[in-house]
């Protein structure tokens, strides 16, 4: 049975479809995808937020919270409880030393900040990037710490409490976008906001396209009949926890997707042709990869630059839970994630925003992992879970070249931080995910009091 072929009025589809088919013009042209560009793309407005998740627990010593290997030597490790072992990275082409970005002299990063042979480096963004160290994750369980960072509320057992930070930020921003809040391979929660701010959660390019494309009811009479029915469909007995209301809110998002074909920019991810070639070259996506970190990074860039979404959370790295391999094994995985992340930043930086500047100028970015790794090797030659985490912010509203928060020089324990004046202080506050979330909100021009901690003022412009 084909409704599509027999429909008498398919040609009368609403003009908004044609209008919004132009979504992605800016993205497409900046990515070198001229054939995707359209002149009628509506300009995105409002600050975007991009949260990039590195799952599995990244090694802070390799990137965001390094130690000088000439001071923290193997012979001193019994005292310092810190053993960087950067020499193990030499075989991968890294220099076994600290990286001091020219654009940010006060910032010291680990060897992975400069990827061997990479055309675009993380340090290229150092002048607009801030590092937050010593974030106390209170747990070394992946599920618990991930959900703690995602929601800023400590889980009950392993069950998430509260709403995702990305959901709260979306509810604060109230963006008028087809998919206000997009999650690419990351859990998402919403226990208090209208469901239209819940994340549309997808795991692959195929999944995203299947979700964005009209679900099949392209016969307008059929679509209208189902729509009219669904608007009235109630089942109050199931609405004790607002489930029916949330389902109806989700229906409003789905109706928008049925009405406006916003999938066009994303077809370049899967359709063979020059657009696909350009996108794969830019993000280093191998053929047949529709669900890897690089593909998700490309989807995140397209979602933001095309105006599909205003808040995007994406898992941009492979799982990095490396207990049984040393620095070199971890660096391979973390490096792959960093390549995807840097390609994403570069896409935002080189794509013009309709309101002036680049998309990166209009986007607040946070990169995070659920925790860090132990500063000493375990007996298997790898590193286990360590609760003092670190993260990276950049883009709109972020003061570049700044480092806030700290870990101790013995055992890398999170130390209290003076939120007003900066600097480690016994009378200060141990940083938590809520401080980070409030900082992201403030940088994006949103109300930081939605979170139970003040923002880290040193990080803000």
């Amino acid at each position: 049975m084909s409704h599509r072929a027999r429909s008498p009025s398919t040609a009368l589809r609403p003009t908004r479809r044609a209008l919004l088919a132009g979504l992605g013009a800016g993205a497409a042209s900046a990515f070198g995808l001229a054939r995707l560009a359209r002149a009628d793309a509506p300009p995105p407005s409002g600050t975007a937020v991009l949260l990039c998740f590195f799952p599995g627990g990244w090694d802070q010593l390799l990137l965001l919270d390094p130690r000088d290997p000439s001071r923290f030597t193997a012979s001193e490790a019994a005292r310092t409880r810190i053993d960087p072992r950067y020499d193990e990275l030499v075989g991968l082409g890294y220099r076994p030393e600290l990286v001091r970005p020219r654009a940010a002299p006060a910032m010291v990063l680990g060897p992975l900040a400069e990827r061997p042979g990479a055309a675009v480096q993380l340090t290229d963004f150092a002048g607009r990037m801030a590092v937050v160290r010593g974030v106390d994750m209170r747990s070394v369980s992946h599920e618990v710490a991930t959900r703690y960072f995602l929601t800023t509320e400590f889980p009950r057992g392993s069950l998430a409490q509260g709403s995702s930070v990305s959901t709260t930020l979306t509810a604060l921003a109230r963006p008028a976008r087809p998919v206000a809040h997009l999650s690419l391979g990351v859990e998402s929660y919403n226990d208090r906001h209208p469901s239209r701010w819940s994340a549309l959660r997808v795991t692959s390019a195929d999944d995203l396209l299947a979700t964005l494309c009209p679900a099949g009811a392209v016969d307008p009479v059929l679509a209208d009949a189902l729509d009219a029915y669904a608007r009235e469909a109630r089942a109050d007995v199931y609405n004790r926890r607002g489930l029916v209301d949330r389902l109806q809110g989700a229906r409003a998002v789905a109706r928008g997707l049925d009405r406006d074909d916003v999938s066009r920019p994303f077809r370049a991810l899967v359709d063979d042709g020059p657009e696909n070639d350009a996108l794969r070259a830019r993000f280093g996506i191998s053929r047949g990869d529709f669900d890897g970190p690089r593909a998700r990074a490309a989807m995140a860039a397209l979602a933001l630059t095309s105006g599909l979404s205003q808040v995007v959370i994406a898992s941009v790295a492979p799982a990095m839970d490396t207990h049984f391999v040393g620095n070199a094994g971890h660096a391979r995985l973390l490096g792959e994630g960093l390549d995807a992340f840097v390609a994403l930043l570069d896409a935002l930086r080189t794509t013009a925003h309709p309101e002036g500047g680049s998309h990166l100028d209009h986007t607040t970015v946070l990169a995070f992992s659920e925790f860090a790794r132990t500063p000493l090797y375990n007996t298997y030659g790898g590193r286990d879970h360590h609760s003092a985490g670190s993260c990276l912010l950049l883009g709109r509203g972020v003061r570049g070249g700044v480092v806030a928060g700290a870990t101790s020089d013995v055992g890398m324990v999170a130390v209290p931080w003076d939120l007003t004046r900066g600097g480690a202080s016994p009378s200060g506050t141990v940083l938590t995910p809520a401080h980070v979330a409030a900082t992201v909100a403030a940088a994006a021009g949103l109300d930081p009091t939605a979170f139970d901690a003040p923002p880290i003022s040193q990080v803000l412009v």
Partner: protein, 182 residues
């Protein structure tokens, strides 16, 4: 009701569609391969509920062990696609099996329109309410009237077939909160 309501998980959605329509949501699935220059091949007739299980909230038991049962846009969107796929295949199946084995065309024959057989159409909607929602709907009640409205809107136009109307009614039933929540 003594417990908190919740939405169907992926396995329940698949089983419920199979029970109600006699079909599940199937289609082409892209899989990686080194045997094609494109890097992928299309695997036909894949069980798409299972394929999208993670996106439907199934835990992977690696990173997560708890299902995500939020009835948000992502779930609804796939539930809509699943309903359309299952209803389309269910109607096709119904035309190929004896009348007694039909799941969707239980009380009507293929050519029954509302103008020609209004009682049969109503009776079929009541029968579908029993299958999809496990409820006995009143033939004159508001729910049957609403579903009848869907059937008539789709079929009472030039060139439309009763099967188009039953497809619409099937999708309406399978995307109703009474089907997706329990």
């Amino acid at each position: 009701m003594g417990r908190a309501p919740r939405r169907l998980d992926a396995g329940q959605l698949r089983a419920s569609l199979l029970h109600a329509t006699g079909a599940t949501w199937t289609g082409d699935r892209r899989v990686r391969t080194n045997n094609d220059p494109s890097g992928y091949a299309l695997r036909p007739a894949t069980d798409l509920v299972r394929h999208y299980a993670s996106a439907l909230g199934e835990p992977d038991y690696g990173a997560t062990t708890e299902p995500d049962l939020d009835p948000g846009p992502g779930f609804l969107r796939r539930a809509q696609s699943a309903a359309q796929g299952a209803c389309r295949d269910g109607l096709r199946r119904d035309r190929e099996v004896p009348a007694g084995a039909r799941r969707l065309l239980r009380a009507v024959s293929d050519g029954d329109t509302y103008a020609r057989a209004p009682e049969a159409v109503r009776a079929n909607i009541v029968a579908l309410g029993r299958t999809f929602w496990i409820r006995n709907l009143s033939p004159d009640g508001p729910e049957v009237e609403a579903l009848l409205g869907v059937f008539r809107a789709v079929t009472e136009r030039e060139g439309a077939l009763p099967a188009d109307g039953w497809f619409a009614v099937c999708v309406a039933l399978a995307t109703d909160p009474q089907f997706l929540l329990y």
